[in-house]
C-alpha cells in the first residue's frame, strides 16, 4: 500500500517538557520551604502568603498538576503521534491546551497563597479556575480523540488505553468533586456536606493519585521503557488484564482515607477490600515494567535513563504494596494522621512520578533537539543524589510517624496519657523533620543538575520542529483478516473503549456515593446539632483561608487514646452543616473537633498572636494579621443565603440580618477578651470570628452530655 508522508509536531512536546522542568523546580522549592518551616517556622517571615497552611496546597498542586501534569502532556503528545502514526489532529487545540494549562498554574500560584481555597485536598482551587480546568481538559480530550480517529495504526497500543481512561476519569472526578455554590468571585461552598463531602473528596483524592499520578504515567512507562530498553514490553497479555483490573478496582478504594472516621462502616470496609485487591493489578504493572528489561540489565549500568526507570518502577511497586497494607484498619490506626502517610506518598511522587519523568526527559530531549545529552555523567549524578534524596526524605518520616503515633497511644499505669501534651510528641520528631528537609534539598539539587543538562543540551542542538514520517493510510472500511480473533474488536474501537472504561470507573463511585447520599440511616440526625452562627461561619471561612486543616484534623476516632486526649469521638450527625467538611488528613498539631470551650477566649487570642506564648516550643506559625485585619461583615449575609440554598436551616431573618447578628456576637466576645488588660481587640477584628468558630467546635454534643 502506498505510504503517506506526514509530520509529527515536536513543538508542543518541547513546550510541555520545558514547562515540566520549570514548574518542577518551583514545586520542589516550595516543598522544601514548607518542610523547613516545620522546624523553623520563622521562615515564613510572618507573611500570610508564606505560611505553611497556604504553601502546602501550593506545593501539592504544583507537584501534581504543574510538574507531573506537564510531563504527562509532553509524553502523551510525543508518544500518541508515534503510536497512532499521525500528527496531532489540531495544532491550534494543542496550543490552546498548552497555554491554558500554564495560565491555570499561574492562577494557582497567585490565588493559593492569597488564601483563596475550597480546602479540599488537591482540589483547593476556587470555582472560576475549576471551570477553566474542565474546559482545558475537554480541549485536550477533543484533540486526543480527534487524533485517534484519524490514526494510521489500526490497533490502539496499551499506552493509549491508559490515556483514554485518564481523560475520562479525571473529567468525572474533577467535575463531581468541584460541584460548589459560588458566593463571590473567589469563594464557594461545596454542595456536599460532612460525611458525604468527605466521601466525595476522598473518592476524588484517592483517584487523583490513581488517574493522574498512576494511569497516565503507566501509559508513559509502556511507551518510553520499551523505547529506552529497545525491546518490547514483557507481556502484552498482562498489560490487558492489568489495565482493566486497575481501572475497575482503583475507583473503589477512596474510603481507605476515612477509616475509623464517621463514614459508615460498610463504605470503610469496601474501601479496605478493594485496596487489598489493588495489589494484583498494580504489581502486574510493576512486573511487566521490570521484566521488560530482561536481558538488558547490563545496559542499566551505563544508562542514566534506565537507572531512573528501574528505581521509578521499584518505587511504584513499593508504594502500591504499602498502600493496601495501610488500608488495613489495624495498620491504618497507627499510620493515619502521622508523617507515615507523607512518607508513603513521597515514595510514589518522588520515586515513581519524579524518576519516571526525569528518565523520560533525558531520553526525549536529545531526540527533539537532534543531539546527544550534554552530560550522561551529570545525569548519573542526578540519579544518585535524587535517590539519596528520596531515602533521606522517606526514612525519617517513617520513623517520625511511628514514633509519634506510639506516643499518642501511651498510657500511665493510672490510665492517664503518658504524653498528655500533644506538643511533646511534636518536639520529639523535630530532628526527623530536619532530616526530611535535607532529603528534599538533595532532591532539589538533583533537579538543578537536570536543569543544567537540559539547558546545555538545548543549546547544543536545534529543535526538530516537524519530524517527517510515513505510513500507509488505514482502509476506510476495516476488512477482517482471515482467522482473526474476536479480541481485536475493542482494541480498534476507541469510542467503544472510552464507553466501557467510563462504565467500569463509574460503578465503584456510584455504589459507594449514592447510598451515602440517599439513605438517611447512613448519617443519623442529631437533634442537638444546629447550624453555625453567622459569626462562626465567617470564622470557619478564615480557618479555611489559612489552611488550618493542613495540620489539624477535626475527627476524633473511637479509640481510648483519642477520647482521653480530645473527648467524645466524632459522630456523622455532627457534620451535617459542614460545607465543606474539614476533617483534615494530618495531625501536625492536635485534633480540634472538641476544642470548643477547652480554653478561654484569651488563650486563643494569645495563641494566634504567638503560639509559643501558650505552648513554648510550638512550631505553629504566628497569625498576627488576624489581630489587625477587619472582618468583612457585608460578606456574611450572602454566605448565609448560600447555606440556605444548600439546605442549611437558617431562618429568613437570620439571612437578612446576618451581619448585625454576627456583630452582636462579636461584641460579646470582644468585651470578654478586653477584660484581659494586655488585650485590646475590636469586635470587627478577624480574630474574634475565628475564636467564635473555635469555641463552637464540637460543643453541640458536649451540651447534650
Amino acid at each position: 500500500m502506498e505510504k503517506e508522508i506526514f509530520k509529527y509536531d515536536n513543538v508542543t512536546t518541547r513546550n510541555f517538557l520545558v514547562a515540566t522542568v520549570v514548574w518542577g523546580l518551583i514545586a520542589f522549592l516550595v516543598g522544601l520551604t514548607a518542610a523547613i518551616q516545620l522546624f523553623y517556622p520563622d521562615l515564613n517571615l510572618d507573611l500570610p502568603w508564606l505560611t505553611f497552611g497556604r504553601l502546602r496546597a501550593l506545593h501539592t498542586n504544583g507537584a501534581i498538576f504543574a510538574f507531573v501534569g506537564n510531563a504527562i502532556f509532553a509524553g502523551v503528545y510525543h508518544s500518541m503521534q508515534r503510536l497512532l502514526k499521525t500528527r496531532m489532529a489540531s495544532d491550534v487545540l494543542s496550543k490552546i491546551h498548552f497555554i491554558g494549562w500554564q495560565l491555570i498554574i499561574v492562577s494557582a500560584v497567585i490565588t493559593l497563597p492569597m488564601g483563596f481555597t475550597s480546602s479540599k485536598e488537591y482540589a483547593e482551587l476556587e470555582w472560576p479556575i475549576d471551570i477553566a480546568i474542565a474546559l482545558v481538559w475537554v480541549i485536550f480530550g477533543i484533540n486526543m480523540f480527534w487524533t485517534i480517529l484519524k490514526r494510521r495504526e489500526r490497533h490502539l497500543y496499551v499506552a493509549i488505553w491508559f490515556y483514554i481512561a485518564t481523560f475520562v476519569t479525571v473529567a468525572v472526578l474533577h467535575i463531581v468533586n468541584n460541584i460548589e455554590l459560588p458566593v463571590s468571585a473567589f469563594k464557594s461552598y461545596s454542595v456536599f456536606a460532612g460525611v458525604q463531602d468527605a466521601l466525595v473528596q476522598w473518592w476524588y483524592g484517592h483517584n487523583a493519585v490513581a488517574f493522574f499520578l498512576t494511569t497516565p504515567v503507566l501509559g508513559l512507562m509502556y511507551y518510553f521503557l520499551p523505547k529506552a530498553a529497545e525491546r518490547p514490553v514483557y507481556s502484552y497479555r498482562l498489560s490487558i488484564i492489568h489495565f482493566w483490573a486497575l481501572i475497575f478496582i482503583y475507583i473503589w478504594a477512596g474510603p481507605h482515607h476515612l477509616l475509623y472516621t464517621a463514614l459508615p462502616d460498610w463504605a470503610q470496609s469496601l474501601g479496605t477490600v478493594f485496596s487489598i485487591m489493588l495489589i494484583f493489578p498494580s504489581w502486574g504493572g510493576m512486573i511487566n515494567g521490570l521484566l521488560t528489561l530482561r536481558g538488558a540489565w547490563d545496559r542499566v549500568r551505563d544508562s542514566a535513563v534506565l537507572k531512573f526507570f528501574v528505581v521509578a518502577i521499584s518505587a511504584y511497586g513499593m508504594a502500591t504494596l504499602e498502600g493496601p497494607l495501610l488500608s488495613l484498619k489495624n495498620l491504618n490506626a497507627i499510620a493515619h494522621y502521622t508523617d507515615w502517610i507523607p512518607a508513603h506518598v513521597h515514595i510514589g511522587t518522588l520515586g515513581w512520578n519524579g524518576f519516571l519523568i526525569f528518565g523520560m526527559i533525558y531520553w526525549l530531549l536529545p531526540r527533539l533537539y537532534q543531539t546527544s545529552l550534554y552530560s550522561e555523567k551529570l545525569a548519573n549524578w542526578h540519579f544518585f543524589i535524587g535517590t539519596l534524596g528520596i531515602v533521606f526524605w522517606a526514612l525519617p518520616m517513617y520513623v517520625a510517624g511511628f514514633t509519634q503515633s506510639m506516643m499518642w497511644k501511651q498510657f500511665n499505669p493510672d490510665g492517664s496519657l503518658l504524653y498528655g501534651n500533644f506538643l511533646e510528641t511534636v518536639t520529639q520528631i523535630i530532628p526527623m523533620y530536619m532530616l526530611r528537609a535535607f532529603g528534599g534539598l538533595l532532591y532539589l539539587v538533583g533537579a538543578t543538575l537536570l536543569v543544567i543538562n537540559v539547558v546545555r543540551t538545548i543549546k547544543s542542538g536545534s529543535l526538530l520542529r516537524n519530524e517527517e514520517a510515513s505510513a500507509p493510510a488505514l482502509a476506510k472500511r476495516y476488512q477482517k483478516e482471515k482467522g482473526e480473533y474476536w479480541h481485536r474488536w475493542i482494541e480498534r474501537r476507541p469510542v467503544t473503549l472510552l464507553f466501557w472504561s467510563t462504565v467500569v470507573i463509574l460503578i465503584g463511585g456510584a455504589v459507594e456515593i449514592i447510598p451515602t447520599m440517599k439513605i438517611d440511616a447512613n448519617v443519623p440526625k442529631l437533634e442537638a446539632v444546629k447550624p453555625y452562627t453567622p459569626l462562626e461561619l465567617a470564622g470557619r471561612d478564615l480557618y479555611i483561608r489559612e489552611g488550618c486543616n493542613a495540620c489539624h484534623s477535626q475527627m476524633v476516632r473511637p479509640f481510648r487514646s483519642e477520647t482521653a486526649r480530645y473527648g467524645e469521638y466524632s459522630k456523622a450527625g455532627e457534620f451535617v452543616y459542614d460545607h465543606p467538611f474539614l476533617w483534615g488528613s494530618k495531625r501536625t498539631g492536635p485534633d480540634l473537633h472538641r476544642v470548643g470551650g477547652k480554653y478561654p477566649d484569651s488563650w486563643h487570642y494569645y495563641h494566634m498572636k504567638d503560639p509559643t506564648i501558650m505552648s513554648p516550643g510550638s512550631i505553629m506559625p504566628r497569625y498576627g494579621w488576624l489581630l489587625t485585619n477587619a472582618l468583612d461583615f457585608e460578606s456574611i449575609p450572602p454566605k448565609i443565603e448560600a447555606m440556605i440554598t444548600l439546605g442549611v436551616p437558617y431562618t429568613a431573618e437570620e439571612a437578612e440580618h446576618a451581619d448585625a447578628i454576627a456583630l452582636e456576637q462579636a461584641q460579646k466576645i470582644a468585651e470578654n477578651l478586653n477584660k484581659d488588660e494586655n488585650i485590646e481587640v475590636l469586635p470587627e477584628d478577624e480574630i474574634v470570628a475565628l475564636i467564635a468558630y473555635l469555641q463552637r467546635l464540637g460543643t453541640d454534643i458536649k451540651t447534650v452530655e
Binding site: K7, S79, R82, L83, K85, E153, H155, Y157, V158, A159, Y222, Y223, P226, K227, E230, R231, P232, V233, S235, Y236, R237, L238, I240, I241, W244, A245, F248, P264, D265, W266, Q370, S462, L463, L464, R465, N466, E467, E468, A469, S470, A471, Y485, H487, R488, E491, I519, A521, N522, P524
Partner: protein, 64 residues
C-alpha cells in the same frame, strides 16, 4: 451502621440471591479479561507489543 440496613435486607425475599449474583458478576469481569488475553494469538500479542518500536524513522529533517 450496618444495623440500619440489615433490617430492610432481612425483610426481602430470597435476599441471598443478590450478593451471589454480585460476586459472580464481579468475578466474571476478571475471568473475562483473563480468557480474552489468553486466547489472544501469540503472533498478535508480539506484533502489538512491538508497536512503539516500529516507528518510522525521520527522513527529511526541517531544522529550526
Amino acid at each position: 451502621m450496618l444495623k440500619f440496613i440489615k433490617h430492610s435486607m432481612l425483610s426481602m425475599d430470597s435476599v441471598e440471591f443478590y450478593p451471589m449474583v454480585a460476586l459472580l458478576l464481579f468475578g466474571s469481569f476478571f475471568l473475562g479479561w483473563l480468557v480474552y488475553s489468553i486466547m489472544m494469538p501469540k503472533a498478535d500479542a508480539e506484533a502489538f507489543s512491538r508497536i512503539p518500536l516500529d516507528v518510522t524513522e525521520p527522513k527529511d529533517q526541517s531544522h529550526e
